[in-house]
Subunit: 286 residues, 6 copies
C-alpha cells in the first residue's frame, strides 16, 4: 500500500510565505518592477525544472504569488513528489506582470530548496530501494523551515524522524552518562513520558545494545557502526525493535549500510546540505 503524502496546512504555509515576502520586499517593495512595468501589464509564465529532480513545495510557491496579488492564477501541472526531467513544467502562472516578478524569487527560493531536499532524499532512497530500510531525516534542519523540510523528505520518498525535542524521547550518550547507564536512563524516561511518546535510545557498542534491548525501548539507534557491526547488531536484535543506523551516511556508503538489515538510516545531509534543485521561471509579458 502506498502511503499518502502529508499535506501542509494552508495557515502554516501562509505564515512562512508572508514572512519571506516581507523579508524580500523590505520597506519599499520591488523598486525595479514599480519603475519599469506598467501597473496594467499582464504576463504568463511557466515554472520548469532546469535539472532532473523531485518536486516539493508547490503550495509555498503558489502562496507566494497569491499573497502578492490574488488576481494571479496559478495552475499546477505537476505534483509534489513527482520525478522531474530537465524541462518538465510544474506550474503555469498568469496575471499582473509586476506581481509575478515581485513574487518570483521567494517562490523559487522555497521551491528550489525543498525540491533540493526531496531530490537528495530520493537519491538515497533509490540506492537502497532493494532493501527494507527507509531513509529518515534528523533535527539538523534549517532554522524556521523544519515543517517544510520534513515534508520535502516525505516527497523524496523518505520517512520522518521526530519533529522536535517534544514529540519523542531520544536518549543519547550524554543523557546516559548523567543518568548512570543505559538502563537507568531508559527507566527514567519511561517513568517520565506519556503513553503516546516513543522512546529511542542511542548505543555506541554491542554491549550497550544488549543492555538496551533488555529495557524494551521502541527504537534503538546504532551510532557510527560500520556495516559489519550493523549486521551483528541486526542478528542480536532479531527483530525485537527497529534499528536505526546513523553517522557518516553518504552516497557511497548507504547501500552497504542498508544491506546490513537495519530498518532506518538517518541522514542530516539531506536537510542541511543538499543543494537546491534548479527550477526557473520563464515569463512572457504581454
Amino acid at each position: 500500500m502506498t502511503a499518502q503524502l502529508p499535506v501542509l496546512p494552508r495557515l502554516i504555509v501562509e505564515e512562512a510565505v508572508k514572512a519571506a515576502l516581507l523579508e524580500d520586499w523590505g520597506r519599499a517593495g520591488d523598486l525595479t518592477s514599480q519603475a519599469t512595468i506598467p501597473a496594467e501589464a499582464t504576463a504568463t509564465a511557466v515554472i520548469a525544472a532546469r535539472k532532473p529532480g523531485v518536486l516539493a513545495g508547490l503550495a509555498l510557491a503558489e502562496s507566494a504569488f497569491r499573497l502578492t496579488d490574488d488576481a494571479i492564477n496559478f495552475e499546477t501541472v505537476a505534483a509534489d513528489g513527482d520525478r522531474l526531467e530537465k524541462g518538465t513544467v510544474v506550474a503555469r502562472i498568469s496575471g499582473p506582470a509586476r506581481a509575478i516578478l515581485s513574487a518570483e524569487r521567494v517562490a523559487l527560493n522555497f521551491l528550489g530548496h525543498l525540491s533540493g531536499v526531496a531530490t537528495a532524499t530520493a537519491r538515497f532512497a533509490d540506492l537502497i530501494a532493494h532493501t527494507s530500510a527507509d531513509i529518515v531525516c534528523t533535527r539538523k534542519t534549517t532554522p524556521g523551515l523544519r515543517t517544510f523540510e520534513k515534508y520535502a523528505v516525505r516527497c523524496g520518498g523518505g520517512s520522518n524522524h521526530r519533529f522536535g525535542l517534544d514529540d519523542a524521547i531520544l536518549i543519547k550518550d550524554n543523557h546516559i552518562a548523567v543518568a548512570g547507564g543505559v538502563t537507568q536512563a531508559i527507566e527514567a524516561a519511561k517513568a517520565f513520558k506519556g503513553h503516546l511518546v516513543k522512546l529511542e535510545v542511542e548505543v555506541d557498542t554491542l554491549e550497550q545494545l544488549k543492555e538496551a534491548l533488555a529495557c524494551g525501548p521502541d527504537v534503538i539507534l546504532l551510532d557510527n557502526f560500520d556495516p559489519d557491526r550493523l549486521r551483528e547488531a541486526v542478528a542480536i536484535t532479531a527483530g525485537r525493535v527497529p534499528l536505526e543506523a546513523s553517522g557518516g551516511i553518504e552516497a557511497d556508503t548507504v547501500k552497504a549500510i542498508a544491506e546490513s538489515g537495519v530498518d532506518l538510516i538517518s541522514s542530516g545531509w539531506i536537510t542541511h546540505s543538499s543543494p537546491v534543485l534548479d527550477l526557473g521561471l520563464d515569463i512572457e509579458i504581454g
Copy 2:
C-alpha cells in the same frame, strides 16, 4: 585597508533564535533532558570544528544558549571570519546541563549553516584572490535567513549584493522587454528611484552592453558570458562602471572568469547550496 566585518544587531539575532528554539521545543520542550538530567546538574562543553572551514554565526549560537538559560556562560575562543582547522575550538560553554543540551541543536544548526556559507564563499574567494574581482551573493537565499546568510558571505571574504527588492534597482531581461529596450528601462528607473538607490542593469549581449554604457548605470551585470566575451566586455567598458559576471559560476570556472577583468562575480550557490560546516559540541557533565 581591511574592511571591518558587519555586526548583527542583538535584537535581530534574538528574534530569529527565539523562533528557532520554539520550533525545536514545540509544546512540551526537551522531554529527554527533562527525564534524564537532574535540574541541578551542570556541565561544561566546547564547540569545535570537525572539518576545516570559516566560522560564521557565533552570536546566534551564543544567543541560543543564553535565551534558554541566562545562567549559561558562553566564552568565545574564535571569531567570525576565522579560518578553522579540524579540531579548532570556537567556544567554551558552562552552566546547567539541561539547558545546554536543550539549546545545542539550534545553536549548531545556525552555526553549521552559516559557517557553511562562509566556507563556500572563502573557497571561491581564495580561487580568485590574485585578481581584483570580488565574490558577491544574490537574493537566492534561504527564506528567513537572508540577513544572516549575507553576513556569512562577508565572513567568508565575499561582498554583498542588494539585500532585497527595495534597496537597489536591478533591471533584468523581462523589465527590458516590457520597457521597450535597455535605454527606456534605465531611463524609467532613473526617473523613479531616489538619489541614494543604485541602478544595475543586466545585459545579454555586447550590443546591449554598449547601449547600457551610454545610459550611465552604476553597475552592469553580464549574464552568462563566457570568459572570452567577458574580456571583450571589460575592454569595451574600459573602467567606466563596475562589471558583474553572473551565471554558471563554479569552482572550476571561477578563476577564468575572474581573470577576465570583471569586478564582481555573483554566485547563488554559496547561499542556497553550500553544505554545512561540520561543527560539534562535546560536553562534560559533572
Copy 3:
C-alpha cells in the same frame, strides 16, 4: 522510581504571560494604582491558598511580577505539585507596590486556573491510587493554554496524552468509517506515519478490539465501555497493549473503571471544567 515533573521553558512562559499582562493593561495600564499609589511606595506580599489543593503554575506567577517590574523579588516557598492546606503560603513577594498590584490579577489567574487543573487531576488520581491505572488528559483544553494545562495535569499526578494532532495518531470512529474498517485504517496509518509516532485506535465494541489487536497498535482506546465490558476487554487483551478507558469519567465512576484493569483513564473534565483553586495575595504596603 518517582518521575520528575516537567519544566516549562522560560521563553514559552514569558510569551504567554506578556500577552496576558497586555490583555489586562489595555492601552493605558493600571489607572487605579497610578492614581493612588506613589511611584516610590514599596510592599511585601504573600500568595497563599484559601482552599486545599495542588499547586501548579508558580513560574507563570513569578513571570507576571518580574515582567511588570524586574525590581520585584519573588521567593517561592512551595513547589508545583505540592499539596496545599488552606492557608499554605506558596510565595513571598516584595518590591514596588504599584507593580505588585498591577501584576496581581494576571499572576493569580494563571496560578488559580492551573492549580485548579492540578487539584482536579489529583482528586481522580487519589481515587485510583490503589490500582495501576493512570489519569490522562485530552485535547479538550482551553485555547492558548494547552502546554500549561498539560503541565498542570502532571503536577496533579496525572499523565499526558498527545499534545496535538501531530505528535501521535489517534484513529477514531470517523477515520475507521472512511478508511473502510479498523484494519484498513491502522494499515493506512502505519504506512503514513514515521517510526517515532505512536498509533492509538479507538474501538466501540469487543469485536473491533479483537480486530485492532491483530493489527498491533501501540494503544487501544475503549470508548464508553462500562466496567464489565472493560474487564472483558482487559481479559481479551491480556497485556499485549495498554488500554485506555474514555467517556463519562466522573468522580463516582472512576474507581470502578480503574479497578477493571485498564492502564489509562482519560478525562476532558480535568482540563476543561475544573474550577480554579482559590489562591489569594495578601499585601502589606509600607
Copy 4:
C-alpha cells in the same frame, strides 16, 4: 427595551482562532486525518448540544472551520444567546472531510468553554430575574480569553464589569490603605482620571460606605457583606449610586443577595470556574 448582544469583530476572532489551530496542529498538522481520509472525501456534520444550556461562541467555531479550509460551508441554525435543549442543533457544516475533522476540536473547545460561561451566567441570572439586580463578571478570566468570556457573559444575560485595568478605576482596600483613607483615594483618582473614566470604590464597612458616598463615586462595591448588611447599605445609599455586591456569590446565596436591593452582583466563578457546556459534532462522511 431589550439590549442588543455585542458583536465580536472578525479580526479579533480570527487572531485567536488562528493561534488555537496552530497550537493544535503543531509542526505536522493532523496526522490521523492525513493518513486515513482521502483528500477528496467530503462530509456533512452538525454541531448539537448534548446538555441543555446557553449558546455562545458560534463565530469562533465558524472561523475555526473556515480558516482551516475556506471551502467549508458553515450554516448557523441557532444564535448566540439561545437557550439550547439537549439535542438542539446549532450549526450544519459541509465540505472537505479532512478539514472538518482537523478543525473540530478547536471549534468545540471555544464553543464549549464560552457556552459554559454563558450557561453559568444564565443560571445566576435566572435565579435573580425577579429582582432588579444584574449579574456582572470580573477580571478573573482565563488568560487570553477575556474578550470572549466577557462576550459570553452577555450571551448568558449578564452584564460586563470593566475589561481591564485601564478602562475604569476600581479602588480597593490596598489602594485606600496607601492613599490614607477612602476620601483621599477617591480624590486622588478623580484628579488623575479622564472625564470618561468611571470610578468605583470598594468598601468593607458601613462607615466606609458613608465616607465614600460623600465623595460621589460612580459605583460602590460592597465587599463580602451579608444580606442584612447589604440591605442596610441599600437603605443608607438611597439610590444615590449603584451598589455592587461581591464575594462568596454562589447558587444558594445569590437570591438573598439580589433581594437586598443591590444593583449588581459580581461573580468570578462564571468565568473562571464554570464547566464547559457539552456540545458535540456528529459527522457523516460520504
Copy 5:
C-alpha cells in the same frame, strides 16, 4: 491637589521601541557606524532641547538606547512634563559609540514627536489656565501611537478623552439619526453598556441639548457651538453634567471658548498636527 502623571508600562514601551528600531535598521543594520566606528569606541552624549517646550517620552528614548545595547548608561536629568528652555539638557548618555549612534534617530523621533504633542497641549492649557476648562485629546491620533500620544497630552497638562471605541460610549449625529433621535440613542446605549462605561452624547443644537439633559448622560459634547451658544448651553445645563466643546479649536479661539464656562475642550490638532519639539543629541566620542 496635583494629579500624578501616568506611567507607561515598560512592556508597552519596549514593544513599540523594538518595532521602531527594526524599522530603522532594516535587514543590515547601521552600515555607516559599522564601517566607520570601531567596535570598542565609547562616547558620551547629551540630549538637549533646541527650542523651548514641554518634555514627553523619556522612557521611550531610554528604551531605544538600552535595547540597542544594554551597556549604555542613560541618566535622566529632566522629567516628562518639565518645561524646557532652549538648551535644557534632559538626559546624559554614555557607552558604546556605535550603539549610541544607531539608536539616536529612533530615540529622537519618539521624543521629538511626543514632546511636540505635550508642547502643543501646554500651549492651549496655558491659554485657558484662568478658567476651569481642561484641554482633552481625541481619537484623531497617529496610527500605532495612541497610548503614547495620550500620555504626552497628560504631560502637557491636558486630560484624556476615551482611548478607543471600547472604553466609553460617544453617540454622534449618525448614531442619533439611525436610532431615531437623541432619546432613543441614549436609551439603546444605556441598555447595552456595562455599569462602568460612561456615556457621552454629541448635540448640534440647544434643543438636542435639552433632550439629552433629560436622559441623564455622563457628558454632553457641543459640536461646533460658537462662544455665545456655548454660554447659553452652560446656562441651560446648570452644572448637571460636564460639557465638552468641540470643533474649530485654535489658538485664537480657545480662550473665548473656555471662558464660556464649558468643562472640556477637545482638540484633534494637538495629536495629529502638532509639530515636533526640536531636541538634539550632542555626542563626544572618545
Copy 6:
C-alpha cells in the same frame, strides 16, 4: 518623462491597518455602533477633502474598511498624488453601517496624516519647481510609519532619501571625527560597503567639501550652508556629484536655497511636523 508613483504592497498595508484597527477597537470593539446601529442597517458615504491639498494613502483607507467587513464596497474617485480642492470627493463607500462607522476613524487617521505629508511636500516642491532641485525626505519620520510617509512624500512630488540605516551610507560629523577625517571615513566606508550601496558624506565647510570631492562619494550633503556658500559649493563641485542642502529648510528659505543650484533639498519637517490634511466622511445611513 514622468515617473510612476510607487505602489504600497498589499501585505504591508494590511499589517499596518490591522494593528491600527485593533488599537482603536481595544478589547470590546465599537460599543456605540453596536448599541445604536442595527446589524442590518446599511449606509453610503463619501470621503471628501475639507481643505485643498494633495491626496496620499487611499489604499490604507480602503483596507481599513475592507478588513472591518469585506462586504463594504470602496470605490476610489481620486488617486494618490491628485491635487484636491475643498470639497473634492476621493472615495465612495457603501455597505454595513456599523462597519463603516467602526472603520471611519482609522481610515481617516491614515489618510489625513499621509495627505498632510504629501501636501507639505507639494508646497515645497511648488516653490522650487522652476529650479532643478528636488525635495527629499529624511529618517525623521513617525515611528512605525516610515514606509507610508516616504510614499506620501512621493505623492507630493518629492523624492526619497534612504529608507533606513541599512540601504545607504551617510557619513556625518561624528563618523568623521572618529574615523580621523573625511578621507579616512569615506575610505573605511568604501572598503566596507557592497557595490550597490551608495555613499553620501556630510560636510560642514568648503574645505571638507573639497576633501570629499577628491574621494568620489556618490552624494555630498552640505549641512547648514547659507545660499551664498551653497552657490560657492555648487561652483566648486562643478557637477561632479549631486549636492544635497540640509538644515533650516522652511517655506521662506527654500526658494533661495534651490536657486543656488543644489540638486536636493532635504526636509525633516515634511514628515515629522506637517499638519494633517482635513478630510471627512459624510455618511447617509438608509
